[in-house]
């Protein structure tokens, strides 16, 4: 990803099944997206 480009939209369900979209936070909050490490 390049700086000062638009972050790609995505949607995932949280662990309670609630749908979360990146656009839910637009015009509202700055976000820290952390992609966790894993062995998969």
């Amino acid at each position: 990803m390049k700086i000062f480009t638009i972050a790609p939209e995505f949607e995932l369900h949280d662990f309670d099944g609630k749908l979360v979209k990146l656009s839910d936070f637009q015009d509202n909050k700055n976000l820290v997206l952390v992609f966790l490490r894993g062995f998969l």
């Binding site: 995505f10 820290v32 894993g38």
Partner: protein, 89 residues
């Protein structure tokens, strides 16, 4: 928010035990991880961490794609970047 390769039960358990206040998003099919270019490398033992700051307009303002499992930005750096973004209004 955290996006990870584990399933919802693992997230629910970990979030509950550790009382984590921010959003955890299971991505077991790696859809979003691949979309954002998170590296998977068998010689680095799997999915390598990545961190991005996205501002209110949806712009990526900072990115860190780790070189190893231990290569994680310091909290102070991330918080300083957030302070800078927040100061812009």
């Amino acid at each position: 928010m955290c996006i990870g390769p584990d399933g919802p039960n693992a997230f629910r358990r970990y979030w509950g035990v550790n009382e984590i206040p921010f959003i955890g998003l299971p991505d077991p099919k790696h859809k979003v991880a691949n979309l954002y270019g998170q590296e998977w490398n068998i010689f680095k033992l799997g999915r390598v961490p990545a961190l991005l700051l996205v501002d209110k307009k949806g712009n990526i303002r900072y990115q860190h794609y780790s070189d190893s499992m231990a290569d994680i930005p310091e909290n102070s750096l991330v918080l300083a970047m957030l302070d800078k973004i927040n100061a812009e209004g």
